[in-house]
Amino acid sequence: MVDKSNTYGFVPSSPTQARGSNTGIFEVNDITDLLLDEKWSGEFDALELIETRTFSSQSTINFTTSSITDYDVHFFTFNHTFGGNTPALRVSSDGGTSYLSTNEYDWNYRTMSRDGSSGTQYRDNGTYFMPLSRSVSADHGLGSNVWIYNMNDSYKYTQFTIQSSGTSTSDGVNYYSRTFFGNGFVEDKAVHNALQLLPNTGTLSGTASLYGLKQN
């Protein structure tokens, strides 16, 4: 007979439940509750999806889910299907009501291209976190991934590293592989609880996902 006198309703009535140490007889809803409380044993993916956005011709794409602050490290992926403009990132400390847009973003990056041009290095201080490189045609899109650290720590800067793969072209006929890697930080010690993807001009089309990494 199931004892319902405790929190989850398992038998016996009062064992301590924890990951790696579950004891008793469980109904489906008990397991659901324990999973939500992170007390159910098993293999769990530490990379948790926060939000995926698919967009077309948008000028800003905002990630404002409250669970952003559940994580200290985030992973952001971005597939830019087309656009001659350059995507970038901004952060917010008020849940997305406004985004930091002063020169608080310090970044540098290197590009390398198969078209024979030498690798180029850039460094700047600007109103957004480095461009994510750009796509040059609908069938030569851009793939990027970004590690974001310490968004949830008011004593540290928010730090970024980024890698992208795209293409370059000068005539719209011949396309060449283009690689991009860079890093930077936001010169603002605050909890940043929203992220904005935006183009330097015009609009963006594509898909972007924000993940959080659990540290327990």
């Binding site: 993916d45 970044w107 290197r110 201080n125 650290y149 310490n150 004593y155 540290k156 890093n183």
Partner: protein, 167 residues
């Protein structure tokens, strides 16, 4: 999928040892760092591996190459041949707390017949320094852990370890 293995944080230390983090349970690993702060003196950190007995490997068996990118100056390439550690890990100015961001992938450390390979990328300190490196421990043996060293003085430091597992 990524599976959390261990997180260790410490303050005012000259090294951080992560023992018994590699096993037959996973082929490859993701190591992250979000703190390398409040250094007692400006330093440029290193990383070493632990052998099957948990002993730090200090022999001249570390090879690496990569690039240091900077917000405030020209970039520079660097490499190490037969060094006693992997170079270019933590960097921090004295008495500064900014946080850092480092991700390192370690490939097949537990496989005794292979060299252990690492690639790491990082944003270090408040001055905007980037690290883009790859390295190899050029002796085939089982590796069970890692150790970060400051080289000079102490820091507040952390390390988070994940195993990478196929579904």
């Amino acid at each position: 999928m990524l599976e959390f293995i261990k997180k260790v944080s410490n303050t005012s230390v000259s090294s951080l040892v992560m023992s018994n983090i590699f096993s037959a349970d996973y082929d490859d690993y993701l190591i992250q760092q979000t703190a390398y702060d409040d250094a007692s003196s400006t330093n440029d950190g290193t990383m070493r591996l632990l052998d099957s007995g948990g002993t730090v490997i200090t022999a001249s068996e570390y090879y690496y190459a990569g690039e240091n990118t900077r917000t405030y100056n020209n970039f520079s390439e660097s490499n190490g041949v037969g060094e006693t550690s992997f170079g270019y890990f933590g960097f921090q100015d004295s008495s500064t707390t900014t946080g850092v961001g480092m991700s390192m992938y370690v490939f097949k450390p537990h496989e005794s017949s292979l060299f252990t390979k690492c690639i790491w990328q990082a944003q270090m300190g408040g001055g905007g320094q980037g690290r883009w490196y790859g390295g190899s421990h050029q002796v085939a043996e089982t590796i069970t852990g890692i150790q970060f060293d400051t080289g000079s003085g102490t820091v507040d430091i952390d390390c988070i370890v994940y195993g990478i597992k196929g579904l």
